[in-house]
């Protein structure tokens, strides 16, 4: 078993050195192309962190962060922000407060690399130290965007504290100050909530979405040196979703959620390709592609839409009044959209998970609702992931619900990790990596453990 793990590790290491993604890599928020779908054939279904059942390793991560871990080869990368005020916490549960968290103490923003097989910290770098330039939402952190990597460069985005690129060995390659990123309540700019959109790598660039109270933009920077390749202004309010790069037949488009419009951009030039509205005034979820469609949803007034957009569309895709589909929009609904967890397409279904734990399955191609079921958890912000025929839904209560994918709801298991989960879990083949409030848990079935 050890020999096999070592061989795998060497092979993955070789692939990583070559800059080639393997099926086991999870290079960004929600993995390859943000699908949330892992490649494992026998991922864990049952575990219990308190008893150690199927827990491969557990590593303490200091500070507060709701960013997701990412994986490349034998490395797991995480970001965190460590407040010098030890009383600071992330406030969980469902509440409608709009005020910022009160923490003006000096922070350290860190990028950490851990060994995928053991959880041992291989390196950690302090990207920045100082008092946060903008505040955070009580349920968020100063390190909410997930990092991204292509195996040789690891990019971390800390909003007002900047964009940082490291080598896989932990050497700082470059950094960029992108200015003050005041992402907060559209109704009162002093209610600062902090950024949430994660950077994504496309070819030799890293794309960053900076939607803020004024002068929003999306831009691509050269992975090698941070040089700006393109920048496109956005007439947008603050948003929190990660842009998704969707490879079409003739082009790659960057799809962005947005309050004023959902938009597609040419990934090579930043040119706006299409727009679609209306949308919620607060847009937090990440677009996801599957079944030849791009799905975008949001869950705040005045509308809570779900759009299934055909890949490769162009122009103004906004539907005429009274219409729910068109040549460019396969189907849509103006109700039923969700607020924080991003949706997932898996098999023939498109799934949404509401903050209150209502899982809704739709026929991905036709849009008709297949089922709706409440999970026994109070609050959900992490986005669903899936593997080997199951969905994995992590709650703030610290439970991960395993639900059989398909047209009928079937709860397979409810697995505790013993601390709140706000970060979206990551896959490394059959290894599930769950970030709790204080620890990273690597979980695998016993026979799949190294």
């Amino acid at each position: 078993m050890i020999r096999r793990a070592s061989w795998c590790s060497l092979a993955l290491g070789a692939m990583a050195a070559a800059g080639l993604a393997t099926a086991a890599d999870w290079p960004q928020f929600r993995g390859p192309s943000a699908t949330g779908v892992g490649s494992g054939a026998k991922p864990p279904v049952h575990w219990d962190a308190a008893k150690g059942t199927n827990i491969v390793w557990k590593a303490e991560i200091p500070g507060l962060s709701v960013s997701s871990p990412i994986v490349w080869g034998d490395r797991v990368y995480v970001t965190t922000a460590i407040s010098s005020d030890p009383s600071q916490k992330i406030r969980t549960g469902q509440y409608g407060d709009t005020d910022s968290a009160n923490d003006r103490s000096p922070h350290q923003w860190k990028v950490m690399a851990l060994d995928r097989l053991t959880g041992k910290v291989l390196w950690q770098q302090t990207a920045h130290e100082g008092v946060p330039k903008t505040k955070r939402h009580p349920k968020s952190s100063q390190a909410s965007p997930s990092p991204t990597t292509n195996g040789s460069v690891v990019v971390a985005y800390f909003g007002s504290e900047g964009l940082y690129a490291y080598s896989s060995a932990g050497k700082l390659l470059w950094r960029k100050d992108l200015g003050i990123q005041n992402a907060g309540w559209f109704f009162a700019p002093d209610s600062e909530w902090g950024v949430g959109s994660s950077p994504v790598i496309y070819k030799n660039s890293v794309i960053v979405l900076c939607d803020r109270q004024k002068d929003s933009f999306i831009a691509a920077f050269d992975l090698k040196d941070g040089r700006e390749i393109w920048r496109t202004a956005r007439a947008e309010l603050p948003t929190w979703g990660t842009p998704t790069v969707v490879e079409g037949k003739d082009r790659a488009e960057v799809v962005t959620n947005g309050s004023k419009a959902i938009r597609g951009y040419d990934a090579d030039t930043g040119k706006e390709l299409w727009t679609l509205g209306p949308n919620s005034e607060i847009a937090c979820t990440t677009p996801v592609a599957g079944q030849g469609l791009i799905f975008v949803t949001a869950g705040y007034p005045p509308v809570q839409p779900i759009y299934a957009i055909k890949i490769g569309s162009a122009g103004n895709l906004t539907l005429p009044a009274g219409k729910s589909s068109s040549d460019a929009v396969a189907w849509s609904a103006q109700r039923g959209g969700v607020y924080l967890p991003s949706p997932i397409v898996y098999g023939d279904q498109f799934y949404t998970l509401s903050n209150s734990g209502i899982l809704t399955a739709y026929d991905a191609k036709a849009g008709n609702r297949v089922y709706q079921q409440r999970l026994q958890g109070d609050s959900f912000v992490a986005s669903p992931v899936a593997a080997a025929g199951n969905l994995y839904l992590a709650s703030e209560d610290g439970d991960v619900f395993v639900v059989k994918a398909g047209p009928q709801f079937e709860l397979v298991a409810k697995n505790p990790v013993g601390e709140p989960i706000l970060a979206t879990p990551a896959w490394a083949d059959d290894l599930l990596i769950v970030r709790g409030a204080s620890h990273l848990f690597a979980i695998a079935e016993r026979e799949r453990q190294p």
Binding site: Q94, G96, P189, D190, G299, Y339, I358, Q372, Q373, R374
Partner: protein, 261 residues
Amino acid sequence: MRRIALLIFAVSLGLRAWGVNEDLLEASRTGDLPAVQALLAKGAALETATAYGQTPLYLAAMNGREEVVRYLLDQGANPDVHDTFYKASMLDFVLMRKHYGVARMLIGKLSAKPDELLATVVQSGNADLVAAVLEAGKPGQAALDKAYAAALEGKQVEAAAVLKKAGAGEPAPAVAVDAATLQTYVGTYKSEQLPLDIKASVKDGKLYLQATGQPEFPLKPKSATQFEFAPAHLEVEFDSPASFTLKQGSMSFHFKKAVTQ
């Protein structure tokens, strides 16, 4: 040619006016009184508004800028403005953000009826504000009783004492509803009128409601089908175990059960 010149002049005047109006909104939001005074002197509109209908007074009030609020009220700014997105009054946000000094200034200026004002202010639990409402106008007995019940339920002892002293009557004793009946109401409800899911659950023999993104709150039974949450002046009436009507003030919303559990 003259018409074009006049048009250009009119457009440039419009842009200039919009510029000072935007500056006035920003100065009001940040509490910069000298700038507010200067911008009004330059011709900025007292009732200019953001895309969400927030006027300078609205912004100053919801951000607790007492000096600016006082000045704008003196200039005749309208305190009865509701925004166009949440349809909320400035007092709603002032109370939510606990700017009680500003609330005190607004109470005597608002045109809302004493009954309505008392129902809004008692939710803050602030005895001084409750007293200010009672000073500003005389609410009806029913409104007084309801506010008193809300204060008692919210354990707002000082506010309750002010209301009692003003003549509020003791609330009727709670009605007991058996656990099996409460259990039939459990589930997630949706409305065609409101973009909110409401979850009904039972804990420790009490029925709780929780709207998406909001904290849960307990309901007090008035009968086996009628419940209330006095602190928010909410009334809930089940017409079957699968649907209820939620009433708050003059608003009424019908919810149907979407998910059982």
